[in-house]
């Protein structure tokens, strides 16, 4: 059904980290997930093991939209020209389980959860 072809002349990327994916080719499904704790801490950094399970933001159920039965959409696609041409892509960073895909990717369902911490010194608590 998706027989379009993506042609990319040049890809220039600097950093792919933390489960980033640079995928060239077709895939059927991708479900990237990311759980992050961002900590801004004043004072000496002591080893403190925070657990994801302790915080409700990581336990909450994601409320995926129910597939909208009412909006039945019959989509008909006709490719007169199957080419998708991109001359040049420059991407500095690809990180935290994100995907750069050249090619078809039918189904994507992604989830990202970020909890920020700010740990100030007790004497400066205004």
């Amino acid at each position: 059904m998706h027989d379009r072809i993506s042609n990319v002349g040049q890809i220039y990327t600097i950093g792919i980290s933390n489960a980033g994916i640079l995928n060239i080719g077709d895939s059927h499904q991708a479900t990237p997930k990311a759980r992050t704790m961002a900590i801004q801490k004043e004072g000496p950094t002591i080893k403190k093991d925070l657990q994801f399970e302790d915080y409700s933001i990581f336990r909450q159920k994601a409320n995926w939209p129910k597939t909208l039965q009412s909006a039945k959409v019959r989509k008909k696609t006709i490719h007169h020209d199957v080419n998708i041409n991109v001359r040049q892509v420059s991407l500095m960073a690809l990180s935290t389980s994100s995907i750069f895909q050249v090619g078809n990717l039918n189904k994507i369902s992604s989830e990202a959860r970020v909890k920020h911490f700010r740990m100030l010194q007790d004497n400066e608590q205004n």
Partner: protein, 58 residues
């Protein structure tokens, strides 16, 4: 709803992106369904009353 799509090719010269992060997708190609969900939680004390730093110099 009936939707009919006619594709006559797609040409892009140059794409410059600083960052693709936290479970996001940059796709050059076709797709059927995308569902994105994100949760965000800022600490309560990040709301400080008082000296609000002006964002612009106006």
């Amino acid at each position: 709803m009936n939707m009919e799509i006619h594709n006559w090719g797609l040409n892009v010269g140059k794409v410059e992106i600083t960052a693709v992060g936290s479970s996001s997708v940059f796709l050059i190609g076709d797709n059927d369904s995308i569902v994105l969900s994100s949760f965000f939680d800022t600490p309560p004390e990040s709301f400080t009353v008082g000296n609000i730093v002006p964002l612009s110099l106006s």
